[in-house]
Amino acid sequence: MSTPSSPDALAERLAGLLGQCALGNQRAFADLYALTSAKLFGVALRILRRQDWAEEVLQECYVNIWNHAGDYAAARSAPLTWMTSIVRNRSLDWLRRPQSETTGEEYEIAVEAWQDQAPGPLERLAAAGEAAQLARCLEQLEAKQRQSIVLAFFHGLSHAELSGHMKEPLGTVKTWVRRGLERLKTCLSGT
Protein backbone atom coordinates (compact mmCIF):
# COMPACT_ATOMS: atom_id res chain seq x y z
CA MET A 1 0.00 0.00 0.00
CA SER A 2 1.45 3.37 -0.99
CA THR A 3 1.05 6.48 1.10
CA PRO A 4 -0.79 9.29 -0.72
CA SER A 5 1.52 12.25 -1.22
CA SER A 6 -0.75 15.31 -0.90
CA PRO A 7 -3.27 16.05 1.88
CA ASP A 8 -6.07 16.01 -0.69
CA ALA A 9 -5.04 12.62 -2.02
CA LEU A 10 -4.84 11.33 1.55
CA ALA A 11 -8.31 12.70 2.37
CA GLU A 12 -9.78 11.04 -0.69
CA ARG A 13 -8.08 7.74 0.10
CA LEU A 14 -9.23 7.83 3.73
CA ALA A 15 -12.82 8.65 2.74
CA GLY A 16 -12.81 5.66 0.38
CA LEU A 17 -11.41 3.40 3.08
CA LEU A 18 -14.01 4.57 5.60
CA GLY A 19 -16.72 3.74 3.08
CA GLN A 20 -15.26 0.25 2.72
CA CYS A 21 -15.11 -0.12 6.51
CA ALA A 22 -18.82 0.71 6.67
CA LEU A 23 -19.35 -2.26 4.36
CA GLY A 24 -17.38 -4.51 6.69
CA ASN A 25 -14.17 -4.67 4.65
CA GLN A 26 -11.50 -5.60 7.22
CA ARG A 27 -8.62 -5.20 4.78
CA ALA A 28 -9.67 -1.58 4.18
CA PHE A 29 -9.68 -1.14 7.96
CA ALA A 30 -6.10 -2.45 8.15
CA ASP A 31 -5.07 0.07 5.46
CA LEU A 32 -6.87 2.86 7.30
CA TYR A 33 -4.98 1.95 10.46
CA ALA A 34 -1.64 1.84 8.65
CA LEU A 35 -2.21 5.31 7.18
CA THR A 36 -3.47 7.04 10.33
CA SER A 37 -2.38 5.25 13.52
CA ALA A 38 0.95 7.06 13.94
CA LYS A 39 -0.77 10.43 13.51
CA LEU A 40 -3.55 9.59 15.95
CA PHE A 41 -1.27 7.90 18.48
CA GLY A 42 0.79 11.09 18.54
CA VAL A 43 -2.38 13.09 19.20
CA ALA A 44 -3.48 10.78 22.05
CA LEU A 45 -0.01 10.59 23.59
CA ARG A 46 0.44 14.37 23.65
CA ILE A 47 -2.84 14.78 25.52
CA LEU A 48 -2.62 11.76 27.82
CA ARG A 49 1.13 11.81 28.40
CA ARG A 50 1.10 8.12 29.33
CA GLN A 51 1.93 5.35 26.91
CA ASP A 52 -0.46 2.81 28.47
CA TRP A 53 -3.40 5.23 28.48
CA ALA A 54 -2.72 6.34 24.92
CA GLU A 55 -2.61 2.71 23.76
CA GLU A 56 -5.88 1.96 25.51
CA VAL A 57 -7.59 5.05 24.07
CA LEU A 58 -6.26 4.39 20.56
CA GLN A 59 -7.60 0.84 20.71
CA GLU A 60 -11.05 2.03 21.79
CA CYS A 61 -11.13 4.74 19.16
CA TYR A 62 -10.28 2.46 16.24
CA VAL A 63 -12.93 -0.03 17.32
CA ASN A 64 -15.33 2.94 17.43
CA ILE A 65 -14.21 4.16 14.01
CA TRP A 66 -14.81 0.66 12.63
CA ASN A 67 -18.26 0.46 14.21
CA HIS A 68 -19.28 3.97 13.15
CA ALA A 69 -17.55 4.25 9.78
CA GLY A 70 -21.02 4.46 8.26
CA ASP A 71 -21.70 7.66 10.19
CA TYR A 72 -18.75 9.37 8.57
CA ALA A 73 -20.76 10.34 5.49
CA ALA A 74 -23.09 12.37 7.68
CA ALA A 75 -20.29 14.15 9.52
CA ARG A 76 -19.37 16.28 6.51
CA SER A 77 -15.82 16.79 7.76
CA ALA A 78 -12.51 15.81 6.27
CA PRO A 79 -11.87 12.15 7.22
CA LEU A 80 -8.73 12.87 9.24
CA THR A 81 -10.56 15.68 11.08
CA TRP A 82 -13.39 13.30 11.89
CA MET A 83 -11.03 10.60 13.17
CA THR A 84 -8.85 13.07 15.05
CA SER A 85 -11.87 14.53 16.84
CA ILE A 86 -12.88 11.04 17.97
CA VAL A 87 -9.41 10.49 19.43
CA ARG A 88 -9.15 13.96 20.98
CA ASN A 89 -12.56 13.77 22.60
CA ARG A 90 -11.94 10.28 23.98
CA SER A 91 -8.52 11.36 25.26
CA LEU A 92 -9.95 14.44 26.96
CA ASP A 93 -12.77 12.43 28.56
CA TRP A 94 -10.25 9.82 29.70
CA LEU A 95 -7.90 12.45 31.11
CA ARG A 96 -10.69 14.07 33.11
CA ARG A 97 -11.98 10.86 34.66
CA PRO A 98 -12.14 11.31 38.44
CA GLN A 99 -9.66 8.46 39.01
CA SER A 100 -6.94 9.75 36.69
CA GLU A 101 -5.78 12.67 38.80
CA THR A 102 -2.05 12.06 38.48
CA THR A 103 -0.40 12.74 35.17
CA GLY A 104 2.57 10.64 34.15
CA GLU A 105 6.03 11.99 33.64
CA GLU A 106 6.70 9.89 30.55
CA TYR A 107 5.93 12.70 28.18
CA GLU A 108 7.31 16.09 28.98
CA ILE A 109 5.28 19.11 28.02
CA ALA A 110 7.52 21.55 26.26
CA VAL A 111 5.86 24.74 27.44
CA GLU A 112 8.84 26.79 26.34
CA ALA A 113 8.66 25.42 22.83
CA TRP A 114 5.55 27.46 22.22
CA GLN A 115 6.78 30.73 23.66
CA ASP A 116 8.91 32.29 20.96
CA GLN A 117 7.75 33.49 17.60
CA ALA A 118 8.81 30.57 15.47
CA PRO A 119 8.59 27.34 17.45
CA GLY A 120 9.22 23.96 15.85
CA PRO A 121 5.68 22.60 15.73
CA LEU A 122 4.38 25.87 14.29
CA GLU A 123 6.96 25.68 11.53
CA ARG A 124 5.83 22.17 10.75
CA LEU A 125 2.28 23.44 10.66
CA ALA A 126 3.22 26.26 8.29
CA ALA A 127 4.86 23.73 5.99
CA ALA A 128 1.78 21.52 5.92
CA GLY A 129 0.01 23.27 3.06
CA GLU A 130 -3.65 23.34 4.05
CA ALA A 131 -2.63 24.19 7.61
CA ALA A 132 -0.48 27.11 6.57
CA GLN A 133 -3.32 29.56 7.07
CA LEU A 134 -3.84 28.35 10.64
CA ALA A 135 -0.13 28.78 11.30
CA ARG A 136 -0.20 32.31 9.89
CA CYS A 137 -3.18 33.23 12.05
CA LEU A 138 -1.65 31.70 15.16
CA GLU A 139 1.46 33.77 14.57
CA GLN A 140 -0.64 36.92 14.50
CA LEU A 141 -1.93 36.29 18.03
CA GLU A 142 -0.27 37.80 21.04
CA ALA A 143 2.35 35.40 22.38
CA LYS A 144 0.37 34.58 25.55
CA GLN A 145 -2.82 33.97 23.60
CA ARG A 146 -1.03 31.69 21.18
CA GLN A 147 0.74 29.82 23.92
CA SER A 148 -2.40 29.16 25.94
CA ILE A 149 -4.42 28.03 22.91
CA VAL A 150 -1.69 25.76 21.63
CA LEU A 151 -1.02 24.24 25.04
CA ALA A 152 -4.71 23.62 25.63
CA PHE A 153 -5.30 22.07 22.23
CA PHE A 154 -2.04 20.22 21.80
CA HIS A 155 -1.64 18.88 25.32
CA GLY A 156 -5.21 18.94 26.63
CA LEU A 157 -4.55 21.41 29.44
CA SER A 158 -7.58 22.84 31.26
CA HIS A 159 -7.83 26.50 32.25
CA ALA A 160 -6.63 25.59 35.74
CA GLU A 161 -3.67 23.62 34.40
CA LEU A 162 -2.80 26.44 32.00
CA SER A 163 -2.86 28.84 34.90
CA GLY A 164 -0.47 26.58 36.82
CA HIS A 165 1.91 26.05 33.91
CA MET A 166 2.00 29.66 32.85
CA LYS A 167 2.06 30.95 36.43
CA GLU A 168 -0.72 33.42 35.74
CA PRO A 169 -4.10 33.93 37.44
CA LEU A 170 -6.98 31.77 36.21
CA GLY A 171 -9.04 34.75 35.02
CA THR A 172 -6.16 36.10 32.96
CA VAL A 173 -5.62 32.75 31.26
CA LYS A 174 -9.32 32.40 30.51
CA THR A 175 -9.33 35.80 28.85
CA TRP A 176 -6.28 34.92 26.72
CA VAL A 177 -7.98 31.77 25.54
CA ARG A 178 -11.26 33.50 24.75
CA ARG A 179 -9.72 36.50 22.98
CA GLY A 180 -7.27 34.27 21.15
CA LEU A 181 -10.05 32.06 19.81
CA GLU A 182 -12.06 35.10 18.69
CA ARG A 183 -9.09 36.57 16.85
CA LEU A 184 -8.23 33.22 15.34
CA LYS A 185 -11.73 32.86 13.94
CA THR A 186 -11.68 36.37 12.49
CA CYS A 187 -8.27 35.79 10.95
CA LEU A 188 -9.22 32.40 9.46
CA SER A 189 -12.41 33.71 7.90
CA GLY A 190 -10.71 36.89 6.65
CA THR A 191 -8.66 35.45 3.83
Partner: protein, 237 residues
Protein backbone atom coordinates in the same frame (compact mmCIF):
# COMPACT_ATOMS: atom_id res chain seq x y z
CA UNK B 1 -31.26 27.12 28.84
CA UNK B 2 -32.36 30.11 26.81
CA UNK B 3 -28.81 31.43 26.86
CA UNK B 4 -27.72 28.47 24.71
CA UNK B 5 -29.65 30.11 21.87
CA UNK B 6 -27.31 33.10 21.87
CA UNK B 7 -25.18 32.58 18.73
CA UNK B 8 -22.10 34.21 20.23
CA UNK B 9 -22.27 32.06 23.33
CA UNK B 10 -22.86 28.95 21.25
CA UNK B 11 -19.80 29.76 19.17
CA UNK B 12 -17.65 30.43 22.22
CA UNK B 13 -18.74 27.23 23.97
CA UNK B 14 -18.18 25.23 20.78
CA UNK B 15 -14.70 26.73 20.43
CA UNK B 16 -13.79 25.89 24.04
CA UNK B 17 -15.31 22.42 23.69
CA UNK B 18 -13.12 21.70 20.67
CA UNK B 19 -10.11 23.33 22.29
CA UNK B 20 -10.65 21.10 25.32
CA UNK B 21 -11.00 23.82 27.95
CA UNK B 22 -14.68 23.12 28.54
CA UNK B 23 -14.46 20.61 31.38
CA UNK B 24 -16.49 18.76 33.97
CA UNK B 25 -20.20 19.34 34.08
CA UNK B 26 -20.08 22.10 31.46
CA UNK B 27 -18.51 19.65 29.00
CA UNK B 28 -21.05 16.91 29.79
CA UNK B 29 -23.93 19.37 29.43
CA UNK B 30 -22.57 20.63 26.14
CA UNK B 31 -22.22 17.07 24.84
CA UNK B 32 -25.83 16.26 25.68
CA UNK B 33 -27.02 19.48 24.00
CA UNK B 34 -25.08 18.56 20.89
CA UNK B 35 -26.90 15.24 20.58
CA UNK B 36 -30.16 16.96 19.71
CA UNK B 37 -28.95 20.16 18.15
CA UNK B 38 -27.64 19.70 14.60
CA UNK B 39 -26.90 23.44 14.41
CA UNK B 40 -24.62 23.18 17.42
CA UNK B 41 -22.89 20.17 15.88
CA UNK B 42 -22.26 22.25 12.77
CA UNK B 43 -20.63 25.00 14.82
CA UNK B 44 -18.49 22.37 16.54
CA UNK B 45 -17.54 20.83 13.17
CA UNK B 46 -16.45 24.26 11.96
CA UNK B 47 -14.17 24.67 14.95
CA UNK B 48 -12.81 21.16 14.48
CA UNK B 49 -11.98 22.02 10.88
CA UNK B 50 -10.24 25.21 12.04
CA UNK B 51 -8.14 23.69 14.82
CA UNK B 52 -7.47 20.06 13.86
CA UNK B 53 -4.43 20.79 11.67
CA UNK B 54 -2.74 21.88 14.88
CA UNK B 55 -3.22 18.39 16.36
CA UNK B 56 -1.00 17.04 13.59
CA UNK B 57 1.71 19.65 13.93
CA UNK B 58 3.49 17.35 16.35
CA UNK B 59 5.50 14.26 15.55
CA UNK B 60 3.87 11.08 14.32
CA UNK B 61 4.48 8.27 16.80
CA UNK B 62 3.89 4.70 15.69
CA UNK B 63 1.95 2.70 18.29
CA UNK B 64 3.34 -0.71 19.24
CA UNK B 65 2.11 -3.69 17.16
CA UNK B 66 0.23 -5.04 20.16
CA UNK B 67 -2.32 -2.22 19.75
CA UNK B 68 -3.23 -3.32 16.23
CA UNK B 69 -3.45 -6.96 17.33
CA UNK B 70 -5.87 -6.02 20.11
CA UNK B 71 -7.99 -3.85 17.79
CA UNK B 72 -8.08 -6.54 15.13
CA UNK B 73 -9.14 -9.16 17.69
CA UNK B 74 -12.00 -6.97 18.90
CA UNK B 75 -13.18 -6.13 15.39
CA UNK B 76 -13.14 -9.77 14.30
CA UNK B 77 -14.97 -10.86 17.43
CA UNK B 78 -17.61 -8.17 16.85
CA UNK B 79 -17.98 -9.24 13.22
CA UNK B 80 -18.67 -12.81 14.29
CA UNK B 81 -21.22 -11.69 16.86
CA UNK B 82 -23.07 -9.48 14.38
CA UNK B 83 -26.53 -10.90 13.88
CA UNK B 84 -28.06 -11.85 10.60
CA UNK B 85 -30.22 -8.75 10.68
CA UNK B 86 -27.38 -6.44 9.85
CA UNK B 87 -24.86 -8.76 8.23
CA UNK B 88 -24.37 -7.69 4.64
CA UNK B 89 -22.32 -10.78 3.83
CA UNK B 90 -25.13 -12.91 5.13
CA UNK B 91 -27.66 -11.47 2.74
CA UNK B 92 -25.38 -10.98 -0.21
CA UNK B 93 -24.07 -14.51 -0.27
CA UNK B 94 -27.60 -15.74 0.21
CA UNK B 95 -26.51 -18.17 2.86
CA UNK B 96 -29.97 -17.83 4.21
CA UNK B 97 -31.05 -20.26 6.85
CA UNK B 98 -34.69 -21.09 6.41
CA UNK B 99 -35.67 -19.69 9.81
CA UNK B 100 -34.11 -16.31 9.09
CA UNK B 101 -35.67 -16.17 5.69
CA UNK B 102 -39.09 -16.83 7.12
CA UNK B 103 -38.63 -14.00 9.61
CA UNK B 104 -37.64 -11.56 6.87
CA UNK B 105 -40.54 -12.63 4.76
CA UNK B 106 -42.88 -12.38 7.73
CA UNK B 107 -41.76 -8.82 8.31
CA UNK B 108 -42.32 -8.05 4.67
CA UNK B 109 -45.73 -9.64 4.54
CA UNK B 110 -46.82 -7.90 7.73
CA UNK B 111 -46.16 -4.62 5.97
CA UNK B 112 -48.24 -5.38 2.97
CA UNK B 113 -51.96 -5.42 2.37
CA UNK B 114 -52.99 -8.22 0.04
CA UNK B 115 -53.98 -6.68 -3.28
CA UNK B 116 -50.60 -4.99 -3.70
CA UNK B 117 -47.69 -6.19 -5.77
CA UNK B 118 -45.47 -8.39 -3.59
CA UNK B 119 -42.63 -6.83 -1.66
CA UNK B 120 -39.38 -7.46 -3.50
CA UNK B 121 -36.84 -5.57 -1.41
CA UNK B 122 -36.42 -5.18 2.35
CA UNK B 123 -34.00 -3.08 4.35
CA UNK B 124 -33.79 -3.98 8.02
CA UNK B 125 -32.25 -0.98 9.74
CA UNK B 126 -30.48 -1.36 13.08
CA UNK B 127 -29.75 1.14 15.82
CA UNK B 128 -26.19 1.79 16.99
CA UNK B 129 -26.46 -1.17 19.35
CA UNK B 130 -27.18 -3.47 16.43
CA UNK B 131 -30.83 -4.02 17.33
CA UNK B 132 -33.41 -3.90 14.54
CA UNK B 133 -35.16 -0.53 14.79
CA UNK B 134 -36.92 0.07 11.48
CA UNK B 135 -37.86 -1.93 8.42
CA UNK B 136 -38.36 -0.40 4.99
CA UNK B 137 -39.87 -2.54 2.25
CA UNK B 138 -41.17 -2.05 -1.27
CA UNK B 139 -42.44 -3.89 -4.34
CA UNK B 140 -40.73 -3.45 -7.72
CA UNK B 141 -41.18 0.22 -8.61
CA UNK B 142 -42.47 -0.65 -12.07
CA UNK B 143 -45.26 -2.73 -10.58
CA UNK B 144 -46.83 0.30 -8.86
CA UNK B 145 -48.87 3.08 -10.35
CA UNK B 146 -48.01 5.48 -7.49
CA UNK B 147 -44.57 4.33 -6.32
CA UNK B 148 -44.26 4.16 -2.56
CA UNK B 149 -42.39 2.38 0.21
CA UNK B 150 -43.61 1.01 3.51
CA UNK B 151 -41.90 1.90 6.74
CA UNK B 152 -42.38 0.02 9.96
CA UNK B 153 -40.81 1.11 13.24
CA UNK B 154 -39.86 -1.97 15.22
CA UNK B 155 -37.90 -0.24 17.99
CA UNK B 156 -39.54 -0.68 21.40
CA UNK B 157 -39.79 2.94 22.51
CA UNK B 158 -38.93 5.22 19.63
CA UNK B 159 -38.41 8.82 20.71
CA UNK B 160 -37.83 11.98 18.74
CA UNK B 161 -36.37 14.98 20.52
CA UNK B 162 -38.35 18.23 20.37
CA UNK B 163 -37.48 20.49 17.41
CA UNK B 164 -35.92 17.60 15.52
CA UNK B 165 -37.22 15.38 12.76
CA UNK B 166 -36.32 12.00 11.31
CA UNK B 167 -35.30 11.86 7.70
CA UNK B 168 -34.98 8.68 5.65
CA UNK B 169 -32.14 8.38 3.16
CA UNK B 170 -31.53 6.06 0.27
CA UNK B 171 -27.87 5.07 0.08
CA UNK B 172 -27.14 4.45 -3.60
CA UNK B 173 -23.82 2.77 -2.77
CA UNK B 174 -20.34 3.56 -3.94
CA UNK B 175 -19.48 7.22 -3.71
CA UNK B 176 -22.96 8.47 -4.57
CA UNK B 177 -24.49 10.86 -2.05
CA UNK B 178 -27.51 9.81 0.04
CA UNK B 179 -30.86 10.69 -1.50
CA UNK B 180 -33.63 11.99 0.77
CA UNK B 181 -36.82 9.95 0.74
CA UNK B 182 -38.57 12.34 3.11
CA UNK B 183 -39.41 12.63 6.78
CA UNK B 184 -40.61 9.78 8.93
CA UNK B 185 -43.05 10.16 11.83
CA UNK B 186 -43.24 8.00 14.92
CA UNK B 187 -46.24 6.06 13.59
CA UNK B 188 -45.61 2.36 13.72
CA UNK B 189 -46.52 1.76 10.08
CA UNK B 190 -46.22 4.44 7.42
CA UNK B 191 -46.53 4.65 3.67
CA UNK B 192 -44.24 7.13 1.93
CA UNK B 193 -44.95 8.24 -1.61
CA UNK B 194 -41.81 8.59 -3.69
CA UNK B 195 -41.03 11.42 -6.07
CA UNK B 196 -40.50 10.28 -9.67
CA UNK B 197 -36.83 11.25 -9.63
CA UNK B 198 -36.14 8.83 -6.81
CA UNK B 199 -37.91 5.72 -8.07
CA UNK B 200 -35.21 4.93 -10.64
CA UNK B 201 -32.64 4.82 -7.86
CA UNK B 202 -34.57 2.38 -5.69
CA UNK B 203 -33.69 -0.62 -7.84
CA UNK B 204 -29.94 -0.56 -7.23
CA UNK B 205 -30.00 0.88 -3.70
CA UNK B 206 -27.65 -0.84 -1.32
CA UNK B 207 -28.90 0.64 1.92
CA UNK B 208 -31.17 2.89 3.93
CA UNK B 209 -30.25 5.32 6.69
CA UNK B 210 -32.22 7.43 9.11
CA UNK B 211 -30.74 10.70 10.37
CA UNK B 212 -31.83 13.19 13.01
CA UNK B 213 -32.41 16.59 11.44
CA UNK B 214 -33.77 19.99 12.44
CA UNK B 215 -37.56 20.28 12.35
CA UNK B 216 -38.61 20.41 8.71
CA UNK B 217 -35.81 18.16 7.52
CA UNK B 218 -32.22 18.61 6.43
CA UNK B 219 -31.57 22.22 5.40
CA UNK B 220 -28.86 21.17 2.94
CA UNK B 221 -30.28 18.21 1.07
CA UNK B 222 -27.67 15.95 2.64
CA UNK B 223 -27.77 14.33 6.10
CA UNK B 224 -26.59 16.87 8.69
CA UNK B 225 -27.39 15.06 11.91
CA UNK B 226 -26.25 11.69 13.24
CA UNK B 227 -27.37 8.55 11.48
CA UNK B 228 -29.30 6.64 14.13
CA UNK B 229 -30.54 3.65 12.12
CA UNK B 230 -29.12 2.02 9.05
CA UNK B 231 -29.25 -1.20 7.14
CA UNK B 232 -28.65 -2.84 3.78
CA UNK B 233 -31.25 -3.50 1.12
CA UNK B 234 -31.96 -7.14 0.43
CA UNK B 235 -33.75 -8.44 -2.63
CA UNK B 236 -36.09 -11.16 -1.48
CA UNK B 237 -37.93 -11.84 -4.74
Amino acid sequence: MASYRNPELRDRLAAEYVLGTLVGRARARFQSLMRYDPGLRRVVAEWEARLTPLAHAGKEIAPPDSVWRAINRRVRRAARRTGWWESLAFWRTFAVTSAAFVVALGVAIGLMPRPEPPISTVAVMSDSGGKPAMVVAWPPMKAMRDPHIRVKIVQDHPTMAPTTSWELWLLPGGKAAPVSLGQVSLDEVQVMKLPKAVTAKMQGAWGMALSVEPAGGSPTGAPTGPIIFQGECVRIL
